[in-house]
């Protein structure tokens, strides 16, 4: 107790002696001492902030929440419309199933068209027929040789007139070209059937958004197929045109021959 009183006296004495230091110490402690936190309930600043936040919350709820709800309602309406009317999954699946069924029909059609139709009975004609029905463009170089083996070659210069030889040659050329074109068209048709299969298989796994792209590809192939059909029709018309020209040439040759024979008979009769 004595020590405490003694220390207190010493402290008071130190304060009296060093007034400036004491003032500095007090000033710094007052400034550095932790200050109490302001209460929500007692401080007017927090009350204003609370009211402000409450107003902001109400505004968010009514303006933004209400607006978003209205948009959500329309989006739901659009979504329902698209899923039930525009792109119903059930009907899309049905369409895909039909496409798969179509593949079966296509396979049957192609199978039917691949049944061999060969009918010749003699060796040379069998070989020629095999070439014509081969659907293989690589066999076209043999067509002319086999054609000559069956239908004969152009008569030589001693055996027929130049006019007749020309006529025979152009007619053979038209007939052979048509036969070669038939081989080509068969090969092209096979490729078209293959492409159609490929396209149809793609459709079976397509999405509604990608189906029009495949449809465009199919349209392009259809245009191409039409072009080949026109080409085959053109060759058919050429054969028919040459046939008509042959008939006309026969009449012309007949007239020329008649005149020549008349002249020869006349010459014979003039002899003594």
């Amino acid at each position: 107790m004595k020590n405490v009183v003694l220390r207190g006296k010493k402290t008071l004495e130190w304060i009296r002696r060093y007034k400036v230091r004491t003032a500095v110490l007090l000033g710094i402690f007052v400034l550095a001492a932790p200050k109490p936190v302001k209460s929500q309930f007692l401080d007017p600043c927090c009350a204003i902030m609370g009211a402000g936040l409450n107003t902001i919350g109400n505004a968010l709820g009514s303006v933004i929440g209400g607006g978003l709800n209205a948009i959500l309602s329309i989006e739901q309406d659009i979504s329902k419309f698209e899923q039930t009317i525009v792109w119903p999954q059930k009907l899309i699946n049905q369409a895909r199933a039909l496409v798969s069924d179509m593949q079966g029909v296509f396979t049957q059609m192609e199978g039917v068209m691949r049944i061999p139709v060969n009918s010749a009975t003699l060796p040379a004609t069998q070989q020629f027929e095999q070439n014509l029905l081969s659907r293989d463009p690589n066999q076209i170089p043999q067509t002319s040789t086999q054609y000559v083996a069956v239908y004969g070659a152009i008569p030589d210069a001693a055996a027929a007139s130049p006019e007749t030889r020309n006529l025979v040659d152009v007619t053979d050329a038209a007939a052979q070209a048509a036969m070669k074109r038939a081989i080509e068209i068969d090969a092209l048709a096979d490729l078209e059937l293959q492409a159609a299969d490929e396209i149809n298989q793609s459709i079976a796994t397509a999405a509604p958004g990608s189906a029009p792209i495949i449809e465009t590809q199919a349209d392009v192939w259809l245009v191409r197929a039409n072009a080949y059909t026109q080409s085959a029709t053109a060759d058919l018309m050429r054969v028919q045109a040459v046939d008509l020209a042959n008939a006309s040439a026969d009449v012309k040759n007949g007239a020329a021959n008649t005149t020549a024979i008349r002249q020869q008979i006349y010459n014979l009769l003039k002899r003594p």
Binding site: L31, A32, A33, C45, I48, M49, T55, I56, A59, L60, V63, I64, G67, I74, E75, I78, E82, I85, V86, W87, A95, L98, V99, M102, Q108, M109, V112, M113, N118, S119, T121, L122, A124, T125, E129, L132, L133, G152, P155, A158, A159, A160, L167, D172, A174, A175, A178, I185, D186, A189, E192, I203, A206, P208, A211, E215, A225, A232, D235, L236
Partner: protein, 278 residues
Amino acid sequence: MVVLTRFLFGSFFVFFSYAMVVARNRRQVLAVTLAGVLFVALASPPPALAQGSLVAVIQSVLNIINGKIQSALNAINSVRAGVDRYYQEAIWPVSVINQAKALVTQMIGQYRNPMRSIFRVNLNSAILPNPIALENGMRNHQTSDFPELTTSFGKAFGSVPTTTAASPVDRMMVDMDDALAMDTLKTLKESDAADDFTLQAADSIEDQASEAAPGSAPFLTATATAASIESQALTQKMLAAELRQEAARLAHENALRKRGATITGDVSTLILNLLKRR
């Protein structure tokens, strides 16, 4: 946090008091004072904002919400509502979609059976047994009876002459003509059978179209186009057969012309020789 703050303040109190007590001269007191001031300046919290500034900030947030955000949401709402209306009234109106489906159904009812009946009218016209058999074989849409067709063809048009009855050239030409004629008849039987499949495909696609949706229709269109390509390919195969047949007919006539030219040359030579003898 509070404990840490009190601990830091206590430590500062002890060290600062100790430094102030042990300072020996004015310079040291001044240094300790400056250190204390520096600590207070660094450790003291920033001044609180005034009440008027807080109200202004809250009001500005409210203005943004009620102004720009509300306008934007109203605009989005209006656009989406317009899109919805456009879809339902202009692009995919349900009533028009139903009309289209009804049209397909109506056309199926109106055309399918009459066309099928017309297509099935019997065209057979032969009256003798062999031609009747051949005609039946040619028109029965079957592809499993080619040998019977060959037999019927032989009975109706005759077979290739024997080696003693005709020259090799004539036999070859006859065989080639008959072969290409029969090839064409067989190809036509195949294409008749394929036609049946094509019509079946068309019916299936049409049935599906009668209940399609705008989103499923592209599948049907695409498969219909693929079927068209198949059909076009079959048409080409028929054309190829016709080309072979027409070419063979031309070749046949030309072969006769070649022979005629040779015979004419021979006859001319004979006549000239005869006349020379006189």
